[in-house]
């Protein structure tokens, strides 16, 4: 079958191909262009180069096992994806995470958003030729990932947010790491503002290029920073507040013209708001349910298991917080809900109730079983409204799961908005849209 662009090709024009192995196409999109000189008169996008069968594979996995696949959807901000998926399940199961867990989720979500915006802008600036900005922004991301690693044990694909709460508590010195991350990110943002926001070359390539009106943006289903750059005030965190966002004070930066520069600027200012939110959370977060700072006291796990064969253990058991889970005393603060949380490891290995509830969670046909029905829940992802639509038939596997990917709707508009612009304008336009392959192609 011939492509649309081939069918519509006029005489005297040139058809060229861009991607999928083009550096500015992020490896997964192919743009076909019809050019008259330097001017684009027709454009067609082909995607699906990173189609990994997310929705099909989810139908074959249990609700618990599926969490790792949500990590790899929008791989720049995996924790937001986790939150979206987990909160959809929580909506179906009718449970709510403890307050401290909600604050932990908000802190990690906002840091993920900063990472997402940093990566998007870094790639956009690099493709426009500003390699320094790329290096600076990656540096800031490393400081944030330090905190992520300290808390979750992994740099990117964390699977940290669980049904009923989060997997473990913050480490004891998390405030120090968070402070460093915030300060370093602020410094980088200031530097990048200085480098880019009034840079004439950058302005020439972004100002008044690829203007999108608010009507067009709404018609295409845009959400997130791209919609807000056209002046529409819609943010899921304000419109449908989830977690503790209604207790935090933050503003929503809006653009005026809807061009590339506004999309850049909205992201820049949103990062500042996110950091502000993290600071508020640091002040407001409730105290952990146990004050035991160190895990050095208590029985060695092997000794405890041995002792549990003859009598019920009463002493505290030493655990490494970096391995699976966290100590039993911290559980009330970070995890709640019956039949859907992994019991503390102390219980699993030393008493029969814990062992049974552990088995009940991982046995085939058991585990997390939401009631029959369907639910849609959305969170504010890095590039817009990230919605999960889950249909459950009462078993431990979803009957159908659909992801509303924000950048799918945004990239769909590219064909229209680059028409009439020049060839070189594609690169900042595509960069400002923040295309993430895993989310676009699923």
């Amino acid at each position: 079958m011939k492509y649309r662009i081939q069918q519509e090709a006029r005489e005297g024009t040139m058809l060229i191909n861009m991607g999928p192995s083009h550096p500015a196409m992020h490896g997964t999109t192919r743009v076909m262009l019809e050019l008259d000189g330097e001017k684009i008169i027709n454009c067609e996008l082909e995607m699906g180069y990173l189609h990994r069968g997310f929705e099909k594979i989810c139908e074959n996995k249990t609700f618990f096992n599926m969490l790792i696949y949500t990590d790899r959807m929008n791989y720049v901000s995996p924790l937001i994806n986790n939150t979206g998926y987990v909160m959809t399940l929580e909506k179906m199961l009718g449970i709510e995470a403890p307050e401290r867990a909600q604050y932990i989720r908000v802190i990690l979500n906002e840091f993920s958003r900063v990472c997402d915006h940093l990566t998007a802008l870094a790639a956009m600036c690099m493709e426009c030729g500003a390699f320094t900005v790329f290096l600076y922004m990656m540096k800031a991301r490393e400081y944030i990932w330090d905190l992520m690693e300290q808390t979750t044990g992994a740099r990117m694909t964390t699977s940290f947010i669980r049904v009923g709460g989060v997997r473990s508590d913050f480490p004891s010195d998390w405030k120090k790491t968070t402070r460093i991350a915030i300060d370093e990110t602020r410094k980088v943002l200031k530097d990048c503002h200085g480098l880019m926001s009034k840079n004439k070359i950058f302005l020439n390539r972004t100002r008044d290029v690829a203007i999108v009106t608010s009507e067009l943006a709404i018609n295409y289903g845009w959400t997130g920073p791209c919609l807000r750059s056209t002046g529409v005030n819609y943010d899921v965190r304000k419109a449908f507040p989830y977690l503790v966002y209604d207790q935090l004070e933050f503003e929503i930066p809006l653009g005026e013209r809807g061009d590339n520069f506004d999309r850049y600027m909205v992201r820049m200012q949103e990062m500042e708001q996110s950091l502000r939110m993290v600071e508020q959370c640091m002040a407001k977060i409730p105290k952990p349910s146990s004050s035991s700072e160190s895990v050095t006291k208590g029985l060695e796990p092997a000794e405890a298991i041995k002792a549990s064969r003859t009598k019920k253990p009463e002493e505290r058991i030493k655990l490494s917080p970096n391995l699976e889970g966290t100590e039993k005393e911290k559980y009330p603060g970070i995890l709640s809900g019956k039949k859907c949380i992994v019991p503390p490891k102390e219980d699993t290995y030393t008493n029969i109730e814990g062992l049974i509830s552990h088995f009940k969670l991982f046995m085939r046909g058991h585990g997390i079983r939401p009631p029959k029905g369907e639910a849609y829940f959305a969170v504010e992802g890095g590039s817009g409204e990230l919605g999960f639509y889950i249909i459950s038939d009462g078993t431990d596997k979803p009957y159908r799961l659909h992801l509303r990917a924000p950048c799918f709707h945004i990239v769909a508009a590219l064909e229209e908005i680059v028409r009439g612009n020049y060839l070189a304008d594609i690169i900042p336009t595509f960069g400002s849209m923040n295309m993430i392959g895993g989310e676009l192609d699923r």
């Binding site: 999928p20 192995s21 083009h22 550096p23 992020h26 490896g27 997964t28 699906g48 180069y49 990173l50 189609h51 990994r52 069968g53 099909k56 594979i57 790792i68 696949y69 790899r72 791989y75 720049v76 990566t119 790329f134 290096l135 990656m138 540096k139 991301r141 490393e142 990932w145 740099r155 990117m156 694909t157 392959g437 895993g438």
Partner: protein, 164 residues
């Protein structure tokens, strides 16, 4: 080489083959074929924090014709497979391929209809990097392993008649 004592020009002895290997291993031009999540870790490894440039492999070329090393970073789907093979075919000899991350090594967690189960079903691979995604330290370790391999490899530098 200058001598320590009097500063006169000295000499070292080596084989031509190992000198060629030494030269090649520290001037690896790479072509990152980035598709998926591992690209984020590749970006970290290539940037200032971990800095691949320390090991003589920081120069990124975005055209396969100028590259020595193909980094396949991320999942390769069946739709992408012909593209990858074309890119590989366009690279000039000598060339090395690194399978970066679990998806490129074996298909990873995506055992389904859309994903190629390991890029060694499409192109030959020299070094496999495990991890989903691999940490930057792992990446550096793997690339140093590749350098060792290049050093030891027999390089074909003599003029050879084409076998007809």
């Amino acid at each position: 080489m200058k001598h320590k004592k009097d500063g006169k020009v000295g000499f070292i002895t080596t084989t031509f083959n190992s000198m060629l290997g030494w030269g090649r291993k520290f001037s690896l031009y790479q072509y990152p074929f980035i598709t998926a999540c591992c690209g984020m870790e590749y970006m970290s490894a290539a940037c200032a924090h971990y800095d691949l440039d320390r090991f003589g492999m920081g120069w990124t070329r975005f055209t396969p014709r100028q590259a020595d090393m193909l980094l396949v970073v991320g999942t390769i789907s069946h739709k992408e497979a012909p593209v990858l093979r074309t890119v590989y075919d366009q690279m000039t000899e000598p060339k090395w391929v690194v399978a970066f991350g679990a998806c490129a090594v074996s298909g990873g967690i995506y055992d389904n209809y859309a994903v190629v189960q390991g890029i060694d079903r499409i192109i030959p691979v020299d070094v496999y990097i495990p991890g989903c995604p691999p940490r930057p330290e792992t990446i550096i370790n793997a690339l140093i392993k590749l350098q060792e391999k290049i050093q030891k490899e027999g390089h074909e530098w003599r003029f050879q008649k084409k076998k007809s």
